[in-house]
């Protein structure tokens, strides 16, 4: 199979990740719950992952809160900063993991910056929105639909200037582009463990510059007599048993990424996206591409429904994703809400050979339709 759906999850997982998960299942007990060898092995493994993630993302180990997913982390962060009815600024390319919790809180949402690949528009709209004194801002680093890399450094700087606490969604960027908690000024940064970090599904990290409001309350292995959740990180955000095999897998993924030349993965993915964009344009596809594009690319095939096209590709051993990608807001911004798009998303091991085979298949499929 030619796998071009890394935006959904990275696949296949590296051997080191699979080994780490397996080893944890053989060796690890429940960390922070006992003093015996298996519990202490697990505790040590989890702390090593906190340390590694902290180094990778410029955070103290205790600021690394393990979650079940990026969505879990975003919900925790949003419920910390946003009360029902609060005014919140978001970008025009947010995922349902951001818009649904805000909808659930009946937040007054200001959507700022709806033009793809247009930093000037994004920043102008962003600053205008921040002047309306929102309670918080939430924005994605890279659109999961279009691969648009938002000008997050400047957006973050503006949030700091205007005194607006903010949450950064790094679902598509963690492990690929630099993400730094302290340097960014973010209150929270959420990410999945299973995409750019190459770990298993069921993992995520919420980097916390401030204390979160717990989304879940329960056992933390600490301060058991008190009925309030502990004040201190990371326990405050980690009720219940941690996914130790998953966390060990994430640690192995981070270790692998730490050995790569910085920026290499991002550069290669962007080049592959650019190559595919040119090839698809020659096939009369409508391709959504521009400056500030990462390794995610959306397109509309000529005269074919996206879901049927995706099915045809799947029959021929090529995995991509069709539809709204859990991001109707992004599609609304780009004018593709009625059709959805076909999305290709690259990973660190995606190759030119794979893109060439994809384009040959696309040519054969789309030529038939003419």
């Amino acid at each position: 199979m030619i796998y071009l759906d890394h935006g959904a999850t990275s696949w296949p997982k590296p051997a080191a990740v699979r080994y780490a998960v397996n080893r944890a299942m053989r060796m690890g007990g429940n960390p922070g719950r006992g003093g015996h060898r298996a519990a202490m092995w697990a505790a040590d493994a989890v702390y090593r992952c906190r340390e590694a993630a902290g180094q990778f993302f410029d955070a103290a180990p205790e600021q690394v809160v393990f979650t079940g997913s990026c969505t879990h982390g975003l919900n925790m962060a949003i419920r910390t900063l946003v009360r029902p009815g609060d005014r919140v600024v978001i970008s025009g390319f947010e995922h349902n993991a951001v818009t649904r919790p805000l909808h659930g809180l009946r937040a007054e949402i200001i959507t700022a910056g709806r033009r793809l690949f247009d930093w000037e528009d994004t920043l102008c709209s962003w600053e205008a929105a921040l002047q309306k004194k929102p309670t918080a801002a939430v924005f994605t680093h890279i659109s999961n639909v279009f691969g648009y890399i938002l000008p997050v450094e400047e957006m973050a700087r503006l949030c700091v200037v205007y005194g607006v606490p903010f949450i950064l969604d790094c679902a598509q960027s963690a492990g690929v582009y630099p993400v730094k908690l302290r340097a960014s000024g973010a209150d929270f940064i959420a990410m999945p463990g299973h995409k750019g970090l190459l770990g298993p599904q069921g993992t995520g990290i919420l980097l916390c510059a401030r204390r979160p409001e717990p989304l879940l309350m329960g056992g933390t292995g600490s301060a058991s007599r008190q009925q309030e959740m502990p004040e201190e990180l990371p326990d405050r955000g980690e009720a219940g048993t941690l996914n130790v095999p998953g966390i060990c897998g994430v640690a192995a993924g981070i270790a692998r990424l730490s050995h790569l030349e910085p920026g290499l993965v991002a550069k290669r993915e962007a080049e592959l996206a650019s190559t595919v964009a040119r090839g698809l344009a020659r096939l009369n596809c409508r391709v959504f591409c521009g400056a500030h594009q990462g390794g995610v690319l959306s397109f509309l095939p000529p005269e074919v429904d996206c879901e049927r096209a995706a099915a045809s590709f799947a029959e021929r051993g090529i995995a991509l994703r069709a539809g709204l990608h859990c991001a109707p807001l992004a599609h609304e911004s780009a004018g593709t809400l009625d059709t959805g798009t076909l999305r290709i998303s690259f990973g660190p091991d995606s190759t030119e050979n794979q893109t060439e085979r994809f384009l040959r298949t696309a040519a054969a499929l789309f030529r038939k339709k003419r």
């Binding site: 960390p31 922070g32 006992g34 003093g35 202490m40 505790a43 040590d44 702390y47 906190r50 340390e51 180990p61 205790e62 933390t220 292995g221 600490s222 301060a223 058991s224 007599r225 008190q226 502990p230 201190e232 990180l233 990371p234 326990d235």
Partner: protein
């Protein structure tokens, strides 16, 4: 053998403390806090040789590794809390 104990509010804090002491050349054992010492119920501590205790406290403070209590074992085995 007599020991000193430094308790922490969570295992993560204890682990951070242990790393700080390691960097400072002090070995410690990460253990469950004895029930009688655990004010809030359930916790972890670092067990250290008494003669290293003062330096350990300094290292933890320098590295901002927050700890809760410091206790030293007397000759009769009882634990005495040290003011910090």
């Amino acid at each position: 053998m007599r020991y000193g104990y430094i308790t922490f509010r969570s295992i993560t804090f204890a682990q951070r403390g242990q790393r700080a002491l390691q960097r400072g050349g002090i070995e410690s054992a990460l253990l469950r806090t004895p029930g009688a010492l655990s004010e809030r119920g359930c916790g972890y501590c670092l067990r250290i040789r008494p003669k290293k205790l003062e330096r350990a406290i300094c290292l933890l403070r320098d590295e901002q590794a927050a700890f809760s209590r410091v206790l030293v074992q007397r000759e009769n085995g009882e634990l005495e809390e040290r003011e910090t």
